[in-house]
Symmetry: none
Subunit: 230 residues, 2 copies
């Protein structure tokens, strides 16, 4: 699932511009011409970021920002202001309310996308999980390396993510669809059967005998389970 950005902007020209470039950068964009509906909707499906025009009909951006910061479930979502008001006073006011950046109009699409990405990056989980060890398998996310019986084995990005996910959820059964949601994330519309293929590829790399897996077991009718060998 793509990161989702909620945009409050009344000028249709600018809305179109913003949507076009953010979607081009791989984001899902939800547009609100006024600030009225956004809070309720956002609590249900929480956006990764708010992009607020300060001057809009209904609740203005500053008020909206204040409410976002006071709403438990939204308080930690970053906010960027987008506005023609470029006076220093407004700028400071916005940032004091807890906005994370401020893009003055007119802005370049590059700048818009760059700033959105920069803010999201700052808020990404800086918690790099430590290495995992299961049986003879060692997984180090920081180095993105996989070692089997002490020997380094090369993996592709998707193989690594899937194996890492399994190894961190030992003993649980996952359906193919669950795995697609958790591991494939934003790349939508993938056949569940693709999971089978990756399971095979991973087995070839970690199982001494890929035909009789000791780690990555098939759970017929359900999905797959990763377990520590006895």
């Amino acid at each position: 699932m793509k990161p989702h950005i909620s945009v409050v902007e009344d000028d249709p020209d600018i809305s179109r511009l913003v949507r076009h470039h953010l979607e081009g950068a791989g984001f899902a964009v939800k547009l609100y011409p006024t600030g009225n509906a956004i809070l309720a909707e956002s609590e249900r499906q929480r956006p990764a970021l708010f992009l607020l025009d300060i001057m809009v009909p209904g609740k203005d951006g500053l008020e909206l920002c204040r409410q976002i910061r006071q709403t438990q479930s939204l308080a930690l979502i970053p906010v960027i202001f987008l506005t023609a008001k470029s006076s220093e006073a407004d700028r400071v006011l916005g940032l004091e309310l807890g906005a994370d950046d401020y893009i003055p109009k007119p802005f370049s699409p590059r700048e818009l996308v760059a700033r959105v990405k920069a803010v999201l990056r700052r808020f990404e989980r800086p918690l790099a999980p430590g290495p995992v060890r299961v049986g003879e398998i060692e997984i180090d996310p920081a180095a993105m390396t996989l070692a089997v019986s002490g020997k380094l084995v090369t993996t592709t990005a998707t193989e690594f993510r899937l194996l890492d996910y399994f190894a961190r959820h030992l003993g649980r059964v996952f359906t193919r669809d669950q795995l697609l949601d958790s591991v494939w994330r934003d790349t939508s519309y993938v056949t569940p059967r693709s999971v089978d293929v990756y399971v095979r590829r991973i087995r070839e790399k970690i199982e001494p005998d890929p035909e009789n897996p000791r780690y990555l077991k098939t759970v017929r009718g359900a999905g797959y389970r990763f377990e520590a060998p006895k």
Copy 2:
């Protein structure tokens, strides 16, 4: 473990703002509404930095700073003042007491985070200014020189910073965006692809065979990793 910052601030709004943005920037934040408890606690688990409001109930920031500087185990920890008092006199007084920076309110979150990082960076230096050696490569930041197999090789500033960063974080994978954040610092809005170009240039200078890198490896789908050759 994340760098840990102790903050003394009585205004709850500003506290929240500060905590939010520092945590967003990857720091752990410990808040103290007054300056009373902080000294004892800090001696046990020493913070990487103090952020003090000058005007707080109990011990004020200036007094606190003085005590920090007189406490053996805390004396070398950097202090930043945060205050509405923007008079030159206060500023000078704070810096005379051994503060390392001074952020006048109102401040922008970007500025806050930038200054905190800047001060921490200044204090990181004495801890790791020494030359680094990886395989046949020697990097000396003090002289900004690079030697490969004993031979001096000229580098540009950006090449050097990037290589230095890699060499000091052996074995870790970095995305292009992470590298832009860490190495390019303030010059924002650079295409991630620029990293590719610099990686190539570095490879030409340090790798015997740039097509088959031994040090600076590509991690497809993720970024790059610098490792010691076997």
